[in-house]
């Protein structure tokens, strides 16, 4: 297999790599959990990881990977059987093994060989062996590692089935999914082989699939499935070695058995026990496919077994003939045996009745799709929404009575909406993967920083757009690092302050107010207001002593680039880069950050992320001849002001009173440099907008209506425009700007400074 690889083999290897990666990702957190609580379930899960990786790697002849996996497995086995105490070093070792496996998988993916990893493999397996041999010297020799003797996980199956093993929903699902794939591959292989029986490759393929399936069933203790697949394996083995079967082509029977397996699998997917009806009779059917071996029959006739095996070696001529020549068997014996073989063949043929195959559909199927294709699809659907708008609101149709057209158009709109929602949901993935990656990070850092921490994950099932997940990965890493390094105190300090010595970090995700909120909460020392102020003043970020700043404004200063109050730069954090990254990445996805902190009690950082990046609800507003879109989410209310509600400060700033509050007024026509219908505030509309904690009023001529808008970026050529976040295409084909509430005020202030040099730059912050 290592010399020349054809496409199929490459595919197998790639599948192995992806599968193993998934497994490692899933189990890394479990390994770290081991350090805290070593319940048998976690232990078994990890054991299975290394075991199946070992099996697959062994099969594909990635020896170094096999070696490490095996060593890790042996160590785990010892711990599991209570022959060895779990110590923190073991957890580190397992983590190292995981890291090695990841690297090795990378190597395998690029070069289809893990030879490059040999030095690392030596080191890690040696470490693992030391751990194994150290305290428990008296292990059975068979436990010792020898890469050459490694076999795919057939032989050691029995000791892997734990009656007390709990199967979680998640494990069950991944088992079902994987098995579906295996069965399908086997089915395809069988069909191909049915057409070209001389093709021995496809038999090997089927065999492998069934074998893996059997192995999986064995792990999970699904006895019925295991038995049936085992019998199928036996039949296939016969075919592979070229012996005769009762029927010339057993495809039909095997396919029928596959269907049974599928049925059993569906049972399991439904959460029921594994159960195959009439299992025994099916097993019997399969067994009947195999004619008894001539050698066995001869032995029954009293022929020397040694002679038979030597005869089989030189099996060029019919076995009976050879035996007769050697004088080990009489012609009579042979004739009798041959007769019996034929008889049982006939019998088997009769018994192996043609089975009617009933097609059972698989429960759930996943396919892996290239992300680029998905993006294209979503873009196309975005285009379609626009095209649909242009069609239905086509100016040519104005004033026409088109009853049927209206109906058709309505129908189409509905379909397009559904399509749009569907497309958006495709991109949504649960945050659990992201969160789980953090477990490892927190573990590593807490060890490094000498802190005890309990990481709690809440709302892992919350779904977020894939791009968003990618964008918030880095911010989460930085925020967690900060929480651990700066936020949480050392155990000694915590006890001194009357807190539990183990700190808590909560990482949660949930849907709220049309956004996704990802929150990182720690119970550490909290932000130190005085320290931040001191630093801000020394850096010249604020004027004066900062006594007029709100809590929030002070907290937000930690996002300034290069801002760090850490007295010492550690290798974990303290350079003041992290928070800047957090802010920038969140701005990219139009997210917001809220920080609340109580000195001495902890910090909570809330990342508020819009659900989708592509479509927003917008309010269409008009100023003069221009229409713009204001995101509905930031609108609090809109009203036509009375003159007495307006106050003009001596600086020339206009303030509008809304009940008990005064909000600065931003004139949209000045930002866009347009002529409005009227400059009189009481002749237009004020829209109260909120961005983060600040509120202001936007002065416009008229509200035109609300609509879903597909966000398009302004061209890269233009770059970022203050006050504008993008644009959209209207029903009539025109382009309309989408206002960016966050930067409107800033943009307005700039305009005012330009427009009226006398006006003092202050404005609504």
């Amino acid at each position: 297999m290592s010399m020349h690889l054809d496409d199929d083999q490459i595919e197998i290897i790639q599948e192995f790599v992806t599968e193993s990666r998934d497994m490692i990702e899933q189990l890394e957190p479990a390994i770290i959990e081991l350090g805290q609580n070593s319940d048998p379930e976690t232990m078994n899960a990890i054991f299975r990881l290394f075991h199946s990786m070992k099996g697959s790697a062994g099969f594909l002849e990635f020896d170094h990977l096999t070696r490490v996996a095996h060593a890790a497995e042996s160590l785990l086995d010892l711990i599991r059987n209570n022959e060895m105490e779990l110590i923190p070093e073991h957890v580190t070792l397992f983590c190292a093994a995981c890291d090695f496996s990841k690297d090795a998988l990378d190597a395998v993916e690029t070069s289809f060989s893990d030879d490059a990893m040999s030095a690392d493999a030596d080191k890690i397996s040696q470490d693992l062996h030391q751990a194994i041999e150290g305290p428990a010297a008296g292990i059975d020799e068979t436990e010792r590692v020898d890469a050459d003797t490694l076999q795919p996980p057939v032989s050691d199956e029995p000791d892997l089935v734990f009656p007390e093993m709990e199967i979680t929903e998640e494990m069950r699902n991944s088992f079902v999914q994987e098995s579906n794939e295996l069965l399908q591959n086997a089915e395809q292989g069988l069909l191909a082989w049915g057409e070209h029986p001389e093709d021995s490759d496809s038999i090997g393929d089927i065999f492998r699939n069934i074998h893996s399936f059997k192995g999986n069933c064995g792990f999970f203790g699904f006895g019925h499935l295991e038995k049936l697949s085992h019998q199928m394996e036996n039949v296939l083995d016969r075919v592979k070695s070229g012996s005769r079967l009762a029927v010339d082509n057993p495809t039909e029977q095997l396919l029928a058995s596959l269907d049974l397996l599928q049925q059993g699998l569906n049972h399991i997917a439904d959460g029921k026990e594994d159960f195959i009806e009439d299992l025994d009779s099916h097993l019997e059917d399969l067994k009947n496919l195999m004619t008894p071996l001539l050698g066995d029959l001869l032995a029954e006739e009293g022929v020397d077994k040694l002679a038979i095996s030597s005869a089989v070696e030189i099996q060029k001529k019919p076995v009976g003939e050879i035996l007769m020549q050697q004088g080990s068997a009489s012609a009579e014996q042979v004739a009798k045996a041959l007769k019996r073989q034929n008889e049982s063949g006939e019998e088997a043929k009769a018994k192996a009745k043609p089975v009617s195959r009933s097609k059972v559909p698989a429960k759930r199927q996943d396919i892996r799709v290239e992300l680029g294709k998905l993006d294209n699809l979503i873009n196309l659907i975005g285009e379609m929404v626009i095209a649909e708008n242009m069609l239905i609101h086509n100016p040519d149709l104005k004033g026409l009575e088109l009853e049927n057209f209206g109906k058709a158009a309505q129908h189409m709109s509905k379909l397009v909406r559904e399509l749009q929602e569907m497309a958006m949901s495709i991109r949504m993935i649960p945050v659990s993967g992201l969160f789980r990656r953090m477990i490892r990070l927190v573990h590593d850092i807490s060890v490094k920083a000498g802190k005890k921490v309990d990481l709690q994950l809440i709302g892992e099932e919350t779904e977020i757009d894939k791009t968003v997940i990618e964008t918030i990965t880095d911010p989460l890493v930085h925020l967690l690092r900060n929480s651990l390094d700066h936020g949480l105190e050392t155990p000694a300090e915590r006890t001194a302050n009357g807190k539990a010595d183990k700190g808590t970090i909560k990482l949660s995700a949930r849907h709220e107010e049309g956004e996704v909120w990802v929150t990182i909460e720690d119970d550490g020392r909290g932000l130190n207001r005085d320290k931040i102020l001191e630093k801000a003043i020394s850096k010249g970020l604020i004027e004066g002593d900062g006594s007029d700043l709100t809590e929030k404004q002070i907290n937000n200063m930690i996002f300034a680039p290069g801002f760090s109050t850490a007295a010492q730069v550690t290798d974990i954090s303290g350079r003041g880069v992290g928070m800047d990254v957090v802010k920038r990445n969140l701005e990219k996805i139009k997210g917001k950050i809220d920080i609340t902190s109580k000195f001495g009690q902890g910090t909570r950082i809330n990342l508020r992320i819009p659900l989708t990046l592509a479509i927003i609800d917008g309010m269409m507003v008009r100023v003069g001849t221009t229409t713009c879109i204001v995101p509905t989410l930031s609108i609090l209310e809109a009203y036509r002001p009375e003159m007495e509600q307006i106050t003009v400060t001596p600086d020339g700033d206009e303030l509008a009173r809304v009940r008990e509050h005064f909000f600065p007024i931003v004139r949209l026509h000045q930002i866009l440099d347009k002529k409005p219908d009227s400059e009189q505030l009481c002749e237009g509309i004020l829209i109260v907008l909120e961005y983060q904690e600040s509120r202001f009023c936007l002065f416009i001529d008229e509200i035109l209506g609300q609509q879903q808008t597909v966000i398009k970026g302004l061209s890269d050529f233009i770059g970022n425009v203050p006050g504008v976040s993008g644009c959209t295409i209207l029903g009539d084909g025109g382009v309309s700007l989408i206002l960016d509430v966050g930067t409107l005020v800033e943009s307005f202030d700039n305009k005012k400074v330009l427009a009226d040099a006398a006006a003092i730059h202050k404005g609504g912050k």
Binding site: S715, I718, N720, V721, P722, V735, S747
Partner: protein
Amino acid sequence: MAEDLSLNGSGNEDTQKDKYLTFHLAGENYGIEICYVIEIIGIQSITEVPDMPDFIRGVINLRGKVIPVMDVRARFALPARDYDDRTCIIVINVDSTEVGLVVDEVSEVADIPENNVEPAPRTSKNSESSYIQGMGKMNKRVIILLDVHKLLFSGEMQCLTQTDNDEE
């Protein structure tokens, strides 16, 4: 009204060599290499974008794509002129950036072999000549061949993109 030339940068190199799309601007003939031209469309309603240099007129919708539009007259600081039915937008694609150029009138696709192209005159006073790639001679006419890269990215536009980068 869209006259699709279906000539992309990726098109057949040989047939596009030495071919220039020529247009009128304030009484002069200008040309740009045909390989950059995607299509020519009539003038349509342009949505203004605030805080842009005055030669960036705004953005238009080109079949679902939003592309910025540059007024070449304003770019060369020539006196402004009202758009009429001869005014065209030439859509070009330079380094996968699509931009529309507003010109007075599109004339033809001209074949100007290399040996008929003179180097650009070096008039240090006139900074606009930096957009000139060469002077093409065609019969008795002179065609100013524009360097689209400089047209799009140098000068004020450069400052604009640079400040953006700083902000990022």
